[in-house]
Symmetry: C2
Subunit: 192 residues, 2 copies
């Protein structure tokens, strides 16, 4: 009986494919093992258990998302950067409906890669703000606003939380336009 030749990365990537197909609720060691053609307990040689697999999946998906956001942001500024990052964010969630929710898990402090991926993703948001000249304490509030809008929209969309699928593209564009306006005037008329 030849060995399957698994390692942690293969297991985690298979878990990522699985959740995109069946939803993150259905992530199960049994299903991952079946897809990899091994017995369930064999996975324990590569991951500590079901929760650890979910955490590694989160780290993987977060890194993937951060890469796409960074790629979208590079070489752009202002509204161009905002639009590009927002589009990349939504695109990732739509292409990976199971991985996207996994990115929302709080990074495990004991997993440096996970922490770094989270910081990279947030870094893309700060890069956008930088293009609007927003820095320092104000950037904290602006970043939270931007993250909230993007995450809120795509999580509602992916979950089917908006009624009809009609005109979602346009609604997203409108929201981004509002964000652009808000960021352009950030701080004006408020306690700086």
């Amino acid at each position: 009986m030849p060995r399957a030749g698994l390692n942690q990365q293969i297991v985690v990537r298979e878990a990522a494919r699985l959740v995109d197909e069946v939803g993150r609720e259905q992530l199960t060691l049994a299903a991952v093992a079946a897809r990899l053609g091994v017995a369930l307990p064999s996975l324990y040689k590569h991951v500590r258990g079901a929760d650890a697999l979910a955490q590694k999946l989160s780290a993987f998906a977060t890194a993937e998302l951060a890469d796409e956001l960074m790629t979208a942001a590079v070489g752009r500024a202002g509204v161009d950067a905002l639009r590009a990052v927002a589009a990349a964010y939504r695109s990732y969630a739509r292409r990976h409906p199971g991985r996207y929710p996994a990115t929302q898990r709080v990074p495990d402090p004991a997993d440096p890669d996970h922490v770094a991926a989270g910081e990279r993703a947030v870094g893309a948001v700060y890069a956008v703000l930088n293009g609007y000249g927003i820095t320092g304490d104000a950037a904290v509030d602006a970043a939270r606003t931007l993250r909230s809008a993007l995450h809120g929209f795509v999580s509602l969309e992916v979950a089917g939380g908006f009624g009809l699928p009609r005109d979602l593209d346009r609604s997203y564009d409108e929201m981004i336009a509002s964000l652009d306006a808000a960021l352009r005037g950030w701080g004006s008329g408020r306690t700086s």
Copy 2:
């Protein structure tokens, strides 16, 4: 052996208390049964199974949230209504960290109460928009923007997705101020 005197509402309300204490991931028929002092299979006399309980919990939490949003909106308009509804929304999520995620489940079309609760919650959002004079097609986009921002913020907050808990109140105020500005000028400078 006297009867426990359960009914569906009692079961669902106990489930609601449970998820607020231990998180929605830990919702289990076994735990609900234990808290109610009955054997696990007894619950099947009141709910169809674990998934049905989760759906009923969603309906219950959605109705509860809709009530609080409506109460906040009544008698107010414009930025006052926006602030009141936004505060009620966040308050609910913070007081009920397990119930809040349950409200994000898509209403079951086969459960009229669930559908009605969802419509009532969305109705509170439309009531706010109405106070800004936003109606018709434009309201669809504005409602999605508003829902995205509120849901995004509180879900990130409840999940611990923002780094430090520092100044969350202020960040929320800033976001609401941005929304107020966006709604006051809704449609201006964009394809109406």
